[in-house]
Symmetry: C2
């Protein structure tokens, strides 16, 4: 499962060791790439196949993965960080657009990238070398909008 070769290479570049724990975290992240897993969630998934792993190792591994550019750390204001694996094949993909529903908390991914023009302006005007960007839109998702209408616009908390 997953291209462990890529992981080995990435680790090797900086003389980090390829351990089983790192392999397993990498595999879970690859397998669940759509899910924005938190350290805790990753831990729960892994305990099934690797019961002796420690939560601290997950944290350390994620930190390392972020450092070597293997994952992207996301914050959806829900009390923990979440991690998204970066595609091994596409070095250009650094966009993260997320729609966060204020009602149900659902997170929707956006594929479009219309940020390029903004990036150009920023790079020029602020002389800021953009490495990555994250865009969070908060609002009400289509599902919750429908519910609202069915309830005759009744307010929820």
């Amino acid at each position: 499962m997953g291209c462990v070769e890529f992981l080995k290479e990435k680790l090797g570049e900086r003389n980090f060791k390829l351990t089983n724990q790192r392999k397993v975290v990498f595999e879970i992240l690859t397998e669940k790439k759509e899910e924005h897993l938190s350290p805790e969630e990753i831990y729960e998934h892994i305990k099934d196949i690797y019961p002796e792993i420690g939560l601290a190792t997950i944290y350390r591994t994620l930190q390392l993965f972020e450092e070597i550019g293997l994952v992207y750390k996301l914050n959806f204001d829900d009390g923990c960080y979440r991690y998204e694996i970066l595609s091994p094949n596409n070095k250009e993909v650094h966009q993260h657009h997320h729609l966060i529903c204020k009602k149900c908390g659902k997170i929707i991914e956006v594929k479009e990238d219309l940020m390029n023009s903004l990036e150009e302006i920023i790079e020029k005007q602020y002389n800021f070398e953009i490495k990555n960007h994250i865009v969070k839109f908060t609002g009400i998702c289509s599902q919750c909008r429908n519910k609202e209408n069915n309830n005759g616009n009744r307010k929820e908390t």
Copy 2:
């Protein structure tokens, strides 16, 4: 100092009380509107003029302010949330573009808003009602780029 009338009105709308503590937090946020203060920092500022205030009150006040749309909660991945007061006069301003330097951690505000076209697409295509958005660009700021060049591209950690 600050337009406390606006605060009173905002609180009144939802039958919240205008306490001294809330007034003071509002004033600090207004005064330091460029600084993205954390609860702890706000607490430190306030202790000078209001020594008996409790940190928990700051937290509760900020939560309340966010709920009534008086502040915007920001996360710069530095271990705490930070708050930005929303301009009383401009209900249209909901854009928050920040440039975060990966080297020195400096946060630069961007005024431009080229997000409107992206927003339109998202609203249509995902039927998602956008209430707010936050854009974080991470990269290297002009100052650090200069330093890098002076050091002949030596890598820093």
